[in-house]
């Protein structure tokens, strides 16, 4: 591969190196999939919350995540030729590139809080690194998404503080946070990922994923310290078998029941197209 051509701004993929174009497509795909699953789980938690206000909040959180999916899918369609219908309706679960913490039902409120405060934070860290991106088509959507994500993280951090303060909730929250962190580290990927390096070199992305992970850990350990929660940060993943497209180390995807429900497959007969 020759030296990367760095230009001020990309209106499209034209002029972008192959590694950069592929790395960006993979990243946006992974962001969209993570937001799709976040939207699903927030939606699932519109009932069963400890407070009614959290149920109302989850309606909004789900709504905005699914809106972000539509924004990202529009960019993927225009510049990578991806079919949004296929991305949701007909893709094998093993091709989903979401954070694996979202692969299974979110079993309790501590796991919900880790979803909101850790997984949503990871996606937002990536979005933030795309603010001011040299790839203009995504830059135009990022500010809007970040505006909404501020309220998501405000919500997640509020519940993180609340659950951490409970003697019966703190341990479970620490465990769920650790598992979410482990999954997020895999999703962000190895430091030597060619696509990620190309994105940073071309100023499409402001920071490497390894730096985003370090910053995210700083965010969370700072919050945990404030609330007196002992947080055991997992060591770096092995990245054995890591796939740049699915951002996974295995070929599993979200649970069948989740994909089935997400697609509305039980109501296939009534689909509009």
């Amino acid at each position: 591969m020759g030296e990367l051509k760095v230009q001020a701004e990309f209106e499209s993929l034209e002029g972008m190196s192959e590694a950069c174009a592929q790395g960006l497509g993979n990243l946006l795909w992974a962001l969209a999939d993570t937001k799709l699953l976040l939207g699903y789980h927030y939606g699932e938690w519109t009932f069963g919350t400890p407070e009614l206000e959290a149920a109302v909040a989850n309606c909004s959180l789900s709504q905005s995540e699914l809106g972000h999916v539509r924004l990202l899918h529009a960019v993927l369609k225009k510049h990578w030729g991806e079919d949004p219908e296929l991305l949701i309706e007909r893709r094998p679960a093993a091709e989903f590139a979401n954070v694996t913490f979202l692969d299974q039902p979110v079993e309790d409120w501590a796991a919900y809080v880790a979803t909101n405060a850790v997984v949503d934070l990871a996606a937002t860290r990536v979005l933030h690194a795309l603010q001011g991106s040299a790839f203009k088509p995504i830059r135009m959507s990022v500010d809007k998404m970040l505006d909404e994500e501020r309220h998501h993280l405000h919500h997640g951090r509020g519940w993180f503080r609340s659950v951490a303060a409970r003697s019966d909730g703190a341990r479970r929250l620490a465990d769920a946070t650790r598992e979410a962190l482990r999954a997020v580290a895999v999703w962000l990927g190895p430091a030597d990922d060619v696509g990620d390096r190309a994105l940073v070199a071309a100023r499409v992305k402001a920071a490497a994923n390894a730096d985003l992970l370090a910053a995210l850990v700083t965010d969370l350990t700072g919050l945990a310290r404030e609330v007196g929660l002992a947080l055991d940060v997992p060591g770096p993943p092995s990245f054995g078998g890591w796939d740049a497209r699915t951002r996974r180390m295995d070929s599993r995807g979200p649970a069948d029941e989740i994909v089935f429900h997400l697609r509305g497959s039980a109501n296939q007969l009534f689909k509009l197209s």
Partner: protein, 69 residues
Amino acid sequence: MSPPGVPCPFCGAADTVKEADFGTSLMVNRQYCRRCRTSFEAIKWGAPAGHLDLPEFLKPNEERDTSHG
């Protein structure tokens, strides 16, 4: 705590408190006026982000602790 100065649309008083971060739609939060004792919804986009509990990187520039990256 409520962001200061969200005026009540019914009586105009600024003596209002935020009751909830989310209302009946994505873009609003729920407020309560202590003068006329009415609940109302306020559009949150464009409101100062300073009242939100945020990690450092999402805080407004003027509130960031610049001693850390």
